[in-house]
Each structure stands twice: as C-alpha cells, then as structure tokens.
Subunit: 160 residues, 4 copies
C-alpha cells in the first residue's frame, strides 16, 4: 500500500493472544475473531504457532486480511500456514512482549498461564485488553462474543 | 495473498543492513537495492529506522513491494514512513539478530561496527551475505552495484 | 568458592519479585525476606532496581548473602547499591523472564501488573511461586510472613 | 562483600570472549587470562559454555576469582563447572549482547564469526576490546600474551 507521498499507509494492528492448545469451541471463537478483525481492515498479530494463534490467523486470511506471526524460535518456517509475515525472534517466550509492544490493542481468548502473563504485561504497558472467556483480572474489558470483542476493539482504536 | 488452501503464499525475505547515517551516494545505492528487491517480488526486512534502512524501504515502496521494520524500541510509530509492518521489539540492538534470523539472505551496504556485527552474526547463522561497499570479511560475497547484488541474491534464493 | 575439583560450589538462587514502588510495610517485608534467604545460604536474584528489589537486596547483604540484579537497561551502574552482580541486559522488561529462568524458586511480594506477569510466567515455566500479600492466582503458594515464605522455599528447594 | 554502608563493593568486570571449540594452545591462553584477571581482583564474565568460556572460568577459579556465565538457553545447570553465577537468559545468541553490556572491557581470544560479532558490537558500544590472536579489526587493541592483555585491561580500567 502507498500513500500520496509514496510511503506506507498505516493500519491498526490487533493482537490475538491465547493458548497453543485449545478445544474446538475456543478455536471457533478465535477464527471468527480473526475474520472480523480482517473485515475491519486491521492486521492480526499473534505468536504464529498453533491453537488460538493459528485459528485467528486462519480467520484473518478468510477475511482477506494480513497476518503477522512473532515466533519464539529461529526458523521462520515454523509459522502456521496462515501467517503472511513470520518473524523469527529467537528469544523464546520473550517474543510475547514483542507482540504486545507492537499491537495497538489485545484480544485475549481462553488461555492458561502464558496468556495471563501476556494480559498482565499488556496492562502494565497500558494497552487495552479485551477478554473472551479468559482470566478475570481487573482492567480486562470483558466481551461475550467475537463480534462484541472486535466491535469494542475497533471503537477504542477509533478514539486513539 | 492466499494460496489454494486459503493459507498464505510464502515470499522470500531479503534483509538490507547498513548504517543509520549515510551520505547521498550510499543512500542512492540503498534505495536502488530496495527497489530492485521489490521488482523481484521479495520483501525487504531492515531495522526500520533512518539512513540505509529508510532508503532501502523507500526504494521497495517505489517498486511496489512490502517492507518489514524490526525496531529497537517500544513504539512502533518510530518506524520510518516507508515501513508497512513495524515490529516494536523493545530489545535494543538485539533486534539486529531478529532481522538476520528472519531474512533468507542479507545485503550489507556500507556501514560501521553495527553492520559488521550483523554481517558476522549472519555468517555464523550460515545465511548468505552479499556486500556492497562494506566490510571485507571472508565469507561475504562482493557485488559492485545494486543490480549485481540483487541479481546474486535472487539467484542464490532460487537454489535454496 | 571452590569445590574439590577447583570448580564452583552450586548455591540455590531464590528470586524476589515485586514492584519498584512500595510502601514502608512492604519494603520491610522484602528486606526481611532477603535477610532470611541469605541466612539460609541462598543467593537473591531480583530486578536490581528500586522498591521491593532494593529492599530484598539490602536485606540479603545484611544477612551476609550474595545478590544478583538483572537490569532492564544497558548501564550496570543503574543497579541499587546492594547488588553484587549487576547484569545489564538491554532487553527492557524482557529481563523479567531472565530472572525467572535463573531462579530455582520465586517469592512474590505485593506488586501490580508487572509482578502478575512474572508470577504467571514463572508458573508457566513450572517454577514454584510463594506469595506474600500478592496476586491470588491458582498455583501460588500463600505465605503469611517472610519467615514462613523463606521456610517454605528452603523446604521445597531441599526436595528438588 | 560489604562497604561501610552495608552495600556492595563494586568490582570491575572483564569479559572474555572466544569460541566454544578451541585447540589446547588457545585454551591455555584463555585459562591463563582468566587466572590473571582473578589475581587482579576483577570478575570474569563470559558465555558460560565450553571452549574459551570454560577455560577462562577455570583459570579465574584457580586464581580465586568470581565467574559469571551468561547462558543462551533456559537451564542454568548447562553452565560449565567453573561458573559461580549462571544466568539463564533464554534469548539465544542475543546473550552475547548482555555479556558486552555488562563488561567494563573485553578480551577477545581466537574465535570465529561469533567472536567477530561480539567484537564489533563491543566497539559499537564504545567498550575497549583487547585482542589475543583474534580478528584484526580497526579499534581492537592487540596484545601478544595473556599477561600483556590483562595488564592493558587493568590499566585502561584504572583510568575509567
């Protein structure tokens, strides 16, 4: 994409965080969330691996969007097949902080301790976090459905 | 981009490394290198800041390509205006290793100690490094012009 | 220290995590915790900066112990004056993960989102976490006093 | 160690960098270098693994010194047996930057591309680098023997 000066048009980036293993219900929620993010013209950034990360990226590709995967290891070909831009960080779980720093807003879906760690770090960085069936931590904005979560995210982003 | 299964089509990623401050000749070489990389359908990855990084990204946008900027700090809006995908790592100069891990091949242009550090790290990681008027280190493949450098890079990538 | 082969004698390392700003009650708890850790012959590892980190290190020095500070920035002289071994990581908050990976066990004292992030990451890494007046997360072992917390830590370490 | 206020007495930290595989001559030089650093009352910091890193740490323990090992992986028990303070970074080769940021001065011994990368990064960070039979890069201060290298290091440190 180019703007009038030949530069790049900025798009908003929404992070989707959640576990690398998840049941079909959670994966369905993640895929729908990714699809809706793309429909709203935003990029999806995630950890680039399996589970919620893969489902969200798959949904975003269905919706015609762009997907960024911030990988823990050193081989970018480890990314799931729905990642357009795989980044091989080589810094292990430290890559979670890169996701949060790069995202404008986060949607957390389900998840265990890793997701909790990301939620807490995002709140520390003062990034808004919308939660779908995830940890109930003060500061997380609860949503009931993907359509509600993405709607909230887009509204918050429009005021940024 | 989507492939037949709805996934992402892989594109090759070429890293352009060089100093954040450079004279007009070097900047011209970097811009032309970026433009040629884009014309060959490859992504440019770089450090996302000024100097050689900005010139290469500017060239890539002129050539219709996609640009990834791996930033040292925590604010992705620090990226130069030609970066499509800014990644805010927050790991300082450690971000140089992320560029090299993610790139399939590197083109080094001019540069001082920081560029030497990246060249050496790339060679350690067994990534090919093509040099344009840069450090003369055993293992660097020397090129005389951007067209020669990008031609070599594309040829090496086609055999990978 | 040397063992019979001239090598180093391993000592256990206990991480103390908590906020960089804290009231006098919390600081008193942190200092007492550090002192008791040292009395049990263990090293203290912490973030090396102010607040709970400084109080715990101060206590450890009072107790005759060794203190390691894993710093976020690039200047090791930023460490508080009670740190024996300051490590200048330059990776920002990513240094929290280094504390947790290096510690054998963690004691969390008070704290806000940053501490929650560390607790969650430690639990993900399957490191025991003992909590003193901190986040009530499943998996955290609650203690009422420094003497109880350090006693639990030493008992768990003796069984490792 | 304590100073009059009960804090920690600062000691200078000398980094020893070099390959993880080396011949007996190089290992002898590294061990002697470590021993002399300890005799001068300075700490050794290194990568904590095999080769030059292990020999330098072994020498430092022979000399009665303290050794810090900045490890690439997540298990601190991977450190060689001569490391007093093992730091498990989990950031892979990015740990090299932590060594350089923490050291006051570097002594480079032999080594291949990894060592070159560290030398270049140190020079970029404006840390003095003394070279023993290593890469001939402008800015590296050449020494002929361990005694000469450590003597130069101590002299430079005394003027800092």
């Amino acid at each position: 994409m180019k703007n009038d000066e030949g530069g790049s048009v900025e798009r908003k980036i929404i992070g989707v965080i959640g576990g690398s293993v998840a049941g079909p219900d959670v994966l369905g929620i993640a895929e729908e969330t990714g699809r809706l993010i793309a429909k709203h013209g935003c990029c999806v950034i995630c950890g680039g691996m399996s589970g919620v990360m893969e489902a969200a990226a798959k949904g975003a590709k269905e919706g015609g969007g762009t997907t960024i995967g911030i990988l823990p290891h050193t081989d970018r070909h480890e990314a799931n097949p729905y990642i357009d831009i795989p980044i091989a960080t080589g810094i292990g779980e430290g890559r979670n902080l890169v996701i949060i720093r790069t995202a404008d807003i986060l949607i957390a879906i389900d998840g265990e301790y890793g997701t909790l760690s990301e939620i807490a770090f995002a709140l520390k960085m003062k990034k808004p976090v919308i939660g779908l069936n995830t940890w109930d931590i003060p500061g997380v904005i609860k949503a009931g459905t993907p359509i509600e979560a993405v709607g909230m995210a887009v509204e918050i982003l429009s005021g940024m």
